[in-house]
């Protein structure tokens, strides 16, 4: 059996080194082509008419004037009369025209009559008495869930948990199917328990899930020697991808679609487009070279991806481009759910955590949403948790880098930090003391906490809350812990050795800017003993073997494992061909530094080119796969820790917070490229500073519209907002042998909590909600002054 295991430290030539990403030159020189840059011959420009109301019913649509306009090539009604619209900016009609201005004029010429319906865009604490227990679903509820693009998996869970109010007819099931329900949903509906009596329940925007308890929270809280109570929260923010969502789609013939799409999920796109377009997935060709950000919001072709293809078909298959405008990108292309909670935590006088109680709420838009995983990281022995989901009209939520974890970190780590303050304990000591209940990662956290404290200079910087003030400028430090899974996804790749010595490697993966290309090349080159630039890597196309979507920190584990298996198999095939020439057995051979030779005998070797010439006339191609039980060991793993610390400076007169330094200590198993791994953490810290200080989707209560759907008032951190960032990757014994684990999400989890805790340390009082803007900081200080 070939040895697929990762080479140990002595036998790695590239893996784990600090290697510059291979696509830097094309990116910094502007040669890298993003979907946004794709301009196809004869391309038409699409524009979308969007609903101006947060909740409305379409009464009538008149597109005749638009259709008559010169230059307009096709008009597609996306939501027909009678459709219910649940958020402002939702797409109603699309047009394709010869240029952008004509398309815009056509949009303006369309008449839509709406019946406005009452909306809710607030996610403030549910008013007393407004909440409703979740219950059986009516057929309208199912329609709404589908309209609102709630994932099928969640719909199934709801149906199984609560049942339905009536048995759906086959016609009804068919209509659900056409609105996006998969077979699992249809089956769940067929098998659901029917509660006809629940049909008359009035509908509320506030749905309270059943309380979850562990142990005996009341008793434990009553017996706790110290109890801290607080209010914490994180608002809805957007993904704000710098390259907006969109596609350029065309039909080379009546049955084949070519689509350029900005996506995190190249291989997964055809399967999602096939049914709505009524063609086989194998007839859909997807291509993407580079993507300008996704952060969890670009897994699906989206409704706009589907209607772009449909409108192209109407326009004789000509390429049609619809990329969202900046305002639409912020309004409709993804939001991170909010989460707020009133938390009570109890501990013994020595700091041992005993009880947790939380009443949380938040919104994921029209679909409501779930409770973040609280208490986070720490399995407090006694818990009671109640959560109310707010269904409102702010637009649908999407997975945002480490879904639900940054929220959970704020709700938990801020509450624990307040408890530490109440106990008068240094948070490093307090968190350290409770690491026993972070199993199975207590040792990792302990090591990381120590390293982080050193790198931050914590002992010199920490002071009991607000005891370090002189004048209006005050400093503080805070910390947070996090965790994530990160096992590698399914990934296939084809590696070909050519008799002339060239090597190519193909897989339908994508590089989100994380360094995926670089890491694939590192693994292949390290295994084959050739330089990285000797390998021709092709990704981003559905003609290559399928590889999973880049989400959940699953890419690096997936692509590195499939690449390793392919490269080992290719190498061993080459050894078999070369062995007779070198008068050796294949298992005596090695390939290093571009030569294939006998281990320990430098006289018996061939150059890589000479060796490949032994392959014969035809190239050989091998397929690498992950997971692959037939080719052990498992090369990827799951479960990481991570500790972050922040230092801030606050001007207590203006409430302006500046982050002065951040430290991220992160493990992720075997690091393939130290440099791009560190870059992931730097990027995550920057994104974290941005959502901690600035980002918020601001909704107007009256009009139901987003007020800051631009980059002027949807603030993002800029250069001056980024302080000294220190990243330390955990490597070596205890980490390397775990195999490869993903890193995209974990480092973005903690900044909110760490920065909020640093501010509390600096000013002596908790600012309950992110972002930590002057108004919130001054309000908290005012409260303290008044108290």
């Amino acid at each position: 059996m070939p040895d697929y295991a990762w080479p140990d430290q002595e036998h790695r030539t590239l893996i784990g080194k600090r290697i510059t990403r291979v696509d830097s030159p094309v990116k910094v020189s502007g040669q890298a082509k993003y979907t946004y840059d794709v301009h196809r011959p004869g391309m038409l420009y699409g524009k979308v008419l969007r609903c101006p109301y947060a909740h409305a019913k379409v009464v009538s649509i008149d597109t005749s004037a638009a259709e008559r306009m010169p230059g307009v090539k096709a008009v597609e009604i996306v939501q027909k009369p009678n459709a219910n619209i649940h958020w402002a900016g939702d797409d109603v009609v699309a047009v394709a025209a010869v240029d952008e201005p004509t398309a815009e004029d056509a949009i303006r010429a369309i008449q839509v009559e709406y019946q406005k319906l009452p909306h809710l865009v607030s996610d403030a604490e549910p008013p007393q008495g407004a909440t409703q227990e979740e219950g059986p679903l009516s057929m309208n509820d199912i329609d709404d869930l589908l309209d609102n693009q709630v994932p099928n998996r969640q719909i199934v869970e709801k149906i199984q948990q609560y049942g339905v109010t009536e048995k759906p007819t086959e016609d009804k099931l068919k209509s659900f199917k056409s609105s996006g329900a998969n077979d699992a949903v249809l089956n769940a509906l067929r098998e659901a328990t029917v509660h006809p009596e629940a049909a008359s329940r009035p509908k509320s925007n506030y749905e309270k899930a059943a309380a979850q308890t562990v142990g005996d929270p009341d008793k434990a809280m009553a017996e706790a020697e110290v109890v801290s109570e607080g209010l914490y929260g994180v608002p809805v923010i957007t993904h704000c991808c710098l390259e907006s969502h969109g596609t350029i789609s065309e039909w080379p013939d009546a049955d084949h679609l070519l689509t350029h799409i900005s996506t995190q999920n190249v291989s997964g796109i055809p399967g999602q487009m096939a049914e709505p377009l009524a063609i086989p997935a194998s007839n859909i060709h997807v291509h993407q070279d580079h993507v300008g950000g996704g952060f969890g919001s670009k897994f699906s072709p989206d409704r706009w991806g589907i209607f772009t293809a449909q409108i192209s078909k109407k326009a004789q298959g000509k390429p049609v481009r619809i990329m969202l405008e900046r305002d639409a990108e912020l309004e409709v292309a993804g939001a991170r759910p909010s989460a707020y909670a009133r938390v009570k935590v109890g501990a013994k006088r020595d700091g041992t955590l005993v009880a947790w109680q939380s009443e949380s709420w938040g919104t994921g838009g029209p679909g409501g949403g779930g409770m973040p995983p609280i208490p986070y990281v720490f399995t407090i022995p006694h818990q009671r948790k109640e959560h109310t989901a707010i269904r409102n009209n702010i637009g649908p939520a999407r997975a945002w880098r480490a879904p639900n974890h940054p929220q959970a970190a704020v709700l938990t780590m801020c509450a624990l930090d307040d408890l530490a303050a109440k106990l008068n304990m240094d948070p490093v000591e307090f968190f350290g003391k409770n690491l026993d209940i972070t199993k199975p990662r207590q040792d990792i956290y302990r090591e990381e906490l120590g390293i982080a404290a050193n790198l931050m200079g914590w002992n010199e910087k920490w002071h009991p809350r607000a005891q370090n003030r002189s004048g209006n400028i005050t400093r503080g430090v805070g910390l947070s812990l996090h965790t994530w899974g990160g096992r590698g996804h399914n990934s296939d790749c084809d590696l070909t050795l050519h008799p002339d010595g060239s090597v190519d490697l193909k897989l339908g993966s994508q590089d989100l800017g994380t360094g995926t290309r670089t890491c694939i090349l590192i693994v292949a080159a390290d295994t084959l003993g050739v330089p990285m630039d000797a390998i021709q890597l092709e990704i981003g196309d559905t003609t290559y073997p399928p590889s999973g979507g880049s989400g959940g920190s699953t890419t690096i584990g997936g692509v590195s494992s499939s690449t390793r298996r392919a490269a080992v198999d290719a190498r061993d095939l080459l050894f078999a061909k070369v062995a007779p020439t070198l008068d050796a057995q294949p298992d005596q051979l090695e390939c290093v530094n571009g030569r294939v030779g006998v281990k320990g005998d430098s006289h018996r070797s061939l150059s890589w080119k000479e060796a490949c010439a032994k392959l014969g006339a035809m190239p050989i191609t091998v397929r690498g796969t992950n997971p692959d039980r037939t080719k052990p060991p498992d090369l990827t793993n799951s479960g990481v820790g991570g500790v972050q610390m922040a230092e801030v400076e606050v001007d207590t007169d203006t409430g302006i917070v500046k982050v002065e330094k951040m430290v991220a200590v992160q493990d992720c198993g075997l690091v393939i490229d130290l440099k791009t791994a560190e870059s992931q953490c730097y990027g995550a810290l920057i994104m974290g500073i941005s959502y901690s200080l600035f980002e918020e989707k601001v909704m107007d209560p009256t009009t139901g519209r987003m007020l800051n759907a631009n980059l002027e008032f949807y603030r993002l951190a800029g250069f001056n907002d980024i302080p000294e960032l220190v990243v330390h990757m955990m490597t070596g014994k205890g980490y390397d042998e775990r195999g490869v684990i993903g890193l995209g999400e974990p480092p973005v989890v903690s900044p909110g909590a760490a920065i909020s805790n640093a501010v509390a340390n600096a000013i002596g009082v908790r600012v309950p909600f992110l972002p930590l803007t002057p108004d919130r900081v001054l309000a908290a200080l005012g409260q303290k002054a008044g108290a």
Binding site: D653, I656, L693, V698, D700, T703, F713, N720, P774, D775
Partner: protein, 329 residues
């Protein structure tokens, strides 16, 4: 694209004759950093654009014993770079360099800066300058007004005056010169800004067929002058409060003061109360604090912007203390 006519006159008189007698039909195009965004967002849709960049008389900066003259087309970058301004009016150069970004400063003109439209997010989202819903309720009062006015906000106008250059120009006692069909006029700059009471009024004392031709500033003042901005982000962010002060001294006491706040009211807000509080006082923490308190004494915050009262107070106090310690950095 909404079609429009584009004209590019070379004299002031031609420009005036090409402008319409009422708002809506024509707009003056200078650097375009504000106007083009407004047009793309469908907030203003002129039928004719009058480009004034080819009018040579509107250019240039000149200093003389009579003072400083800045043509309407002077860019913010020019203001920041001009040796004479840096030497004699350093607070103006500082205000200019802090505005916007280098790319915008290279395009943005002084007159455009004075005439730029409010950044109110209701206005910019197309709900009007004095935004109301169908039933006549004021959107700003009922909505998210965290960035809106705390002074001068009793009427329907709740936006804040957007220029960060204007307060310091007013502190320098600048005058604005205009030319229209009825000839030329000159006003103290503070009089150029008005609070509109109905949707068809604008926030400037500017006729639809008038153009701003230049801004003049009296000779180098014998006063301590400073400008202070509070922005959440250091660079490229809209301020939350701005203050500019000019303090004429007699010995170690203030003889008279000019105190102007920006971003607090629909117009640049002069505070006679604060000026009064400083008059005949020495300059120290305590008097600065008193003046700052006086400046916001009449503030009436809306539902979400009480914090701006504190920020305005801090801006005034810090501007006074900055002036006391020598002004612009």
């Amino acid at each position: 694209m909404r079609p429009f006519e584009y004209v590019s006159p070379t004299t002031k008189a031609q420009a005036v004759s090409l402008l319409g007698a009422s708002w809506g039909g024509t707009e003056i195009l200078a650097g375009g950093t504000d106007l083009l965004a407004l047009m793309k967002d469908d907030i203003v849709s002129p039928k004719r654009l009058v480009n004034i960049k080819n009018i040579r008389d509107l250019r240039g900066i000149s200093s003389s014993p009579q003072g400083l003259r800045m043509g309407a087309l002077t860019t913010l970058a020019d203001l920041a770079d001009d040796a004479g301004i840096k030497k004699n009016y350093p607070a103006l150069a500082e205000a200019a360099i802090e505005a916007a970004s280098p790319q915008i400063r290279n395009m943005a003109t002084l007159a455009g800066n004075l005439c730029q439209r409010p950044r109110c997010w209701y206005f910019r989202n197309g709900f009007g300058l004095l935004p109301k819903d169908e039933t006549g309720n004021e959107l700003v009062a009922d909505g998210d007004n965290r960035y809106h006015a705390i002074l001068g906000n009793e009427g329907p106008a709740k936006f804040v005056s957007p220029s960060t250059i204007v307060p310091v120009l007013i502190a320098y006692e600048a005058k604005i010169r205009l030319e229209g069909p009825k000839g030329k006029r000159e006003l103290p700059l503070e009089k150029f800004f008005v609070i509109p009471k109905s949707e068809n009024e604008r926030e400037h004392d500017l006729g639809p067929n008038e153009i701003v031709t230049e801004v003049v500033v009296p000779p180098v003042p014998n006063a301590k002058i400073a400008h202070y901005e509070i922005r959440q982000k250091d660079v490229f962010d809209w301020p939350l409060a701005v203050a500019a002060v000019a303090l004429k001294m007699q010995g170690s006491n203030v003889e008279s003061a000019r105190i102007v706040m920006g971003y607090v009211a629909p117009v640049p807000w002069m505070s006679p109360e604060a000026e009064q509080a400083l008059t005949a006082q020495p300059l120290d923490q305590e008097t600065a604090q008193k003046a700052a308190e006086a400046a916001v004494k009449d503030a009436k915050p809306l539902s979400h912007n009480e914090y701006k009262v504190q920020l305005a107070r801090v801006a005034v106090k810090r501007a006074i203390l900055k002036a006391a310690s020598g002004g612009a950095a």
